[in-house]
Structures are given as structure tokens and as C-alpha cells.
């Protein structure tokens, strides 16, 4: 079963093809990675999937439905959650309010119900606070629920962003360089968290430069270089693929390495 499919997905900027005819298939379940050298088009691909960037051509389907032209908020409601490479939490809100904001699309009491404080409003808010606390407990931030978000340590801000995305109960969670700036202990804890999320039934697609993290955690890997897909397969197969080694090291160094290893 395929959850997300992109077909010939292309995004052109003046003088640059950031994403070039990429066919991506993300199956239901598991952890999948998109890797590639800097500037390979990984973040643009994520922006295309979450709707922040409109494709020049090609299509995106999610759960069998064509979402190519849907605005970001509709995609979020369909079950695509994400985090950002440069953390984008709502820094003036409390930690809990950040996560409550992630629940936005799941709350339905309208303006009249809110202004009149109907019983349905109170019930929904109570339910939302419960769900938000559950998301905080998933990432281990329960004891910091009432802190102002920007007062959190860097690693905690990253985890808050994951909790906020998980509050949406996404079917697909996009993590853009989740381990960036983390020390080995934090990275290990993050890997365990991502595994827990995947075991809970959320499909994870992540962009990451930490190869140890990617190799140990992911079920499949897609490699981009200059906007093009150059490889797709299991982590064990990536290392053996000459095109991937060349993309990272350059053709000459890759050939030398091959010669040395016989």
C-alpha cells in the first residue's frame, strides 16, 4: 500500500531546477529517509509535499487522492504533519498552547459556540487539552507544559515541534533534519522517539544528514542529487551504490576508494 506518491514532480526556479522529475513512493508504515548533498532539493521536496511550494509540473497524491493543488491547511487536515529545519515553534505561546494549535483542524465549535461558551465548547477544549498533554507525554515534555515555548532548550524545542505535529494525528509525518545540532545522546533519544512514532502507526519521512541516524533507523532511503532521484532502496544497498558515493564524494574520489577496496 502506498501512502504518498509523487510523479514527475518538478519545481523550477530561474536558473535552477530544485526538484527535477522526482518519482517518490512512500509506503504505509515505517520510517523513510530522503538524503543527498546540500542543495539536492530535499527541503524543496518537503515544501512541495506540505503545500508551501507549488510545483512547476508533476503530481502529488496522498492516500490515493490528488493533492497537487490543495493549500497547506487542507493537506494538514488530510493528515500531513511536518517540522522545519529551522525550528518554527510559536515562541510567545506556552508549550501546551503550541500543541493545542496543532489540534486546530480537529476542533469544530464555531464562532457562535465560542463566544457563547456553549457546553460543546468546554467539552471540546477539555478534550483538546487532554490530547495535547498526551502528545507532550509522547515526546517527554509533560513537565514543561506551562513554560513559554522560547524558554525551552534547543533540543526540547525540536521535540515540541514534533509534539505539535503529532497532535494533528498525522498519517504522514515529515521531519526536516530532526537531529540537526543534537549531541549523540540527544540523537539516540530522538531515534527512539521516531521509532515509537512509527510503531504507533504514523508513517515517517525524514530528511537528515546524520548517516548513522539514517542507516540505523530507516526502512528505506531515497537519494537526491541536483534535484534528481539517483537511488531508492534499503539502507544496506545505499552504501554499495556507486552513484550515491559519487554524489557525496565526487567521481574521482569515489573511483579511488573503489580501487583501494579492490
Amino acid at each position: 500500500m502506498t501512502l504518498l506518491t509523487t510523479a514527475m514532480l518538478t519545481r523550477r526556479y530561474t536558473g535552477l531546477v530544485a526538484v527535477d522529475a522526482v518519482d517518490l513512493r512512500v509506503p504505509v508504515g515505517g520510517v523513510h529517509a530522503v538524503i543527498g548533498p546540500n542543495g539536492a532539493g530535499k527541503t524543496t521536496l518537503f515544501n512541495l509535499i506540505s503545500g508551501l511550494v507549488v510545483p512547476t509540473s508533476g503530481t502529488i497524491s496522498f492516500d490515493g487522492r490528488n493533492i497537487t493543488r490543495l493549500p497547506p491547511y487542507r493537506r494538514a487536515a488530510l493528515g500531513i504533519g511536518r517540522t522545519f529545519q529551522n525550528i518554527r515553534i510559536f515562541s510567545e505561546m506556552s508549550v501546551l498552547e503550541n500543541v493545542l494549535t496543532g489540534l486546530h483542524a480537529k476542533l469544530h465549535v464555531g464562532l457562535a459556540g465560542v463566544a457563547c461558551r456553549l457546553p460543546a465548547f468546554h467539552a471540546e477544549e477539555r478534550h483538546a487539552v487532554g490530547a495535547a498533554r498526551a502528545a507532550l507525554s509522547l515526546v517527554g515534555l509533560s513537565d514543561r507544559a506551562d513554560r513559554q515555548a522560547q524558554s525551552l532548550a534547543y533540543g526540547d524545542q525540536r521535540r515540541l515541534e514534533i509534539a505539535r505535529a503529532m497532535a494533528q494525528s498525522p498519517r504522514l509525518l515529515l521531519l526536516d533534519e530532526p537531529a540537526a545540532g543534537m549531541n549523540p545522546a540527544e540523537t539516540a533519544a530522538l531515534a527512539a522517539l521516531v521509532r515509537r512514532i512509527a510503531d504507533g502507526g504514523t508513517t515517517v519521512l525524514l530528511v537528515e544528514h546524520d548517516m548513522g541516524f539514517v542507516m540505523s533507523l530507516c526502512d528505506s532511503i531515497t537519494v537526491l542529487n541536483f534535484g534528481r532521484k539517483i537511488f531508492e532502496g534499503a539502507p544496506s544497498a545505499v552504501r554499495a551504490e556507486p552513484a550515491v558515493v559519487e554524489a557525496y564524494l565526487g567521481a574521482r574520489l569515489a573511483a579511488k576508494l573503489r580501487a583501494n577496496h579492490g
Binding site: R88, M93, L103
Partner: protein
């Protein structure tokens, strides 16, 4: 019920000022609504003018009763808010601010040149139908309504958009709809404030709704802050009372407003009342 003589004297002397506090409070709220979704509009005075002129004409020409005129006074401001908001809110940045400055200046030229609205002389003899109790009841209802809305998913969405529009969209928030909703709400509040002020001062003129009053309304919210709906109202009250206390310097009134905006931006980025309410209702 008889009013004691000292209260009668007080109201006789300060009635207009008290009414101005209420009207300016409503204007400050109309600014608050737009700022709290992260947009900048300089059209609050223009919306107010539309409410004032349309309501004055409804009273003077059509002889409609005030309880019809008051709600109807927000129709024209809302129509203009939609006409300006739909094309400009899709663009990020200062487009709304520029378009709303333009609206104010265009409308001023229209008032000046249209005989039906009295041209440069404005409209005179508008019956004083706006009572102090009406003004303050509406102000209280508006503050309470905005307060309740702020403490809900709608308030969280508004604050999320103000902090980071992109992240808000990814949270499933229909950013465009909320921005337009905020602009329309602000047009309603400003239109009603315009109607109330026209029906308590008996005279309106084209220069009351130009760029200067627009900046004054902005300074209400900048001085008070936008952490809670009461903050901009207090900002408006301070800026309304200040010129009365500095009567001798009345020509310098705008200088003071300018200094307050600069001072607030430099030293009080959250306004005088920087306290921010919790954004949840449970």
C-alpha cells in the same frame, strides 16, 4: 430618577470627552483585531468615515430610526473591507497597509467633491442620538466578545498567524479566511464607532477620516499593546485624555502621538500592558 446636580454639571462639561473615550475604545479594538492576526491596516479611519457618512445620510435623508441605522452603519465598511482584503491579503507584507492608506485618501477626495455629503463643509445637524450608555455597552460587549474568542482555538489560530504564517498554515489553519475575517470584524467595529461619533457630535467633515486619524488609531494599539483586548482600549483612553490635560499645547498633539509611537516601538514592544492572556478555554 433624578440626576444629582454635581453629576449633571460633570456630564455637561465632560460628556463629549466621555463619549470620545468610548468611541476611541471601539476604534482601538478595530485596530487590535487586525494587528492580532499579524496584519497592518491603516484603513480604520476610512472604515469609520464610511460608517459615519452612511449612517448620517440614513438618519438625515432616509429618516431611519437609530436602532436601524446603528447596525446598518457597518454594511458599507464591510463591503469595502471585502473589496480591499480579498485581493491584498493573499500577498504578504505591507500591501494591505498601502491599499488601506489609499482607500482613506480616495474617500476623502470623494467626500470633498460629492455635494450629496456636503463637500468640504461636511454634514451638519445630525441628531445626537448616540447615548453614552449605548457607546459603553457596545464597548463592553466588544471587549468581552473578543476576550472569549481569544481564549479558544480561534484565538490560538490568530496568535499563531501573527507569529509565523507558514507554520500556522501547516497546522491546518486557513490563514486567508482568518485574515479576511479579522479585517471584516475590524470594519464592523470601526463603522459602528463612526456611526456613534457622528450621532454624538452632530457634525462630520471629510478631514476627520484621513491619514492622521488613521495613525492616531494605530497609536492606541501600539501604546496599549495587543496581549489582551483591554490593552488597546486603555491605550486609547490615555491618548484621548492626554490632549485634554495638555490643552495649552493642542497644536503639538500630533507631536505627542508621534513621540508615543516611536517610544512604544523602541521601549515597549508589547505596549504598556504587555501581559498576555492564556489562549485556552478549559
Amino acid at each position: 430618577m433624578t440626576i444629582p446636580p454635581w453629576l449633571d454639571d460633570f456630564l455637561w462639561t465632560y460628556g463629549n470627552l466621555i463619549n470620545a473615550l468610548g468611541v476611541n475604545g471601539l476604534l482601538a479594538l478595530s485596530m487590535y483585531v487586525v494587528l492580532s492576526v499579524g496584519q497592518l491596516s491603516l484603513g480604520q479611519a476610512a472604515f469609520m468615515g464610511l460608517g459615519a457618512y452612511s449612517s448620517a445620510l440614513m438618519t438625515l435623508q432616509l429618516k431611519l430610526p437609530f436602532f436601524v441605522v446603528l447596525p446598518a452603519s457597518c454594511l458599507l465598511p464591510v463591503a469595502f473591507a471585502l473589496a480591499i482584503g480579498i485581493p491584498t491579503l493573499r500577498l504578504s507584507g505591507v500591501y494591505l497597509a498601502i491599499a488601506t492608506i489609499g482607500l482613506g485618501e480616495v474617500l476623502r477626495a470623494v467626500y470633498l467633491n460629492l455635494d450629496m455629503v456636503g463637500g468640504a463643509l461636511g454634514l451638519n445637524g445630525i441628531p445626537e442620538k448616540a447615548q453614552t450608555w449605548m457607546i459603553f455597552s457596545l464597548l463592553i460587549v466588544a471587549v468581552a466578545g473578543l476576550w472569549l474568542v481569544a481564549r479558544s482555538r480561534i484565538g490560538r489560530a490568530m496568535e499563531a498567524m501573527r507569529e509565523d504564517t507558514t507554520a500556522a498554515a501547516v497546522m491546518g489553519i486557513n490563514v486567508g479566511r482568518y485574515q479576511l475575517g479579522a479585517l471584516v470584524t475590524s470594519a464592523v467595529l470601526a463603522g459602528i464607532a463612526g456611526c456613534l461619533s457622528a450621532h454624538q457630535s452632530s457634525f462630520i467633515g471629510p478631514n476627520e477620516y484621513g491619514f492622521e486619524p488613521a495613525v492616531t488609531i494605530l497609536s492606541f494599539a501600539l501604546l496599549g499593546g495587543i496581549g489582551t483586548p483591554i490593552a488597546p482600549v486603555i491605550g486609547a483612553w490615555i491618548l484621548t485624555l492626554l490632549p485634554e490635560m495638555l490643552r495649552g499645547f493642542s497644536d503639538l498633539r500630533l507631536v505627542f502621538n508621534g513621540l508615543i509611537i516611536v517610544g512604544a516601538v523602541l521601549f515597549l514592544p508589547r505596549g504598556l500592558i504587555g501581559w498576555r492572556m492564556r489562549r485556552r478555554g478549559a
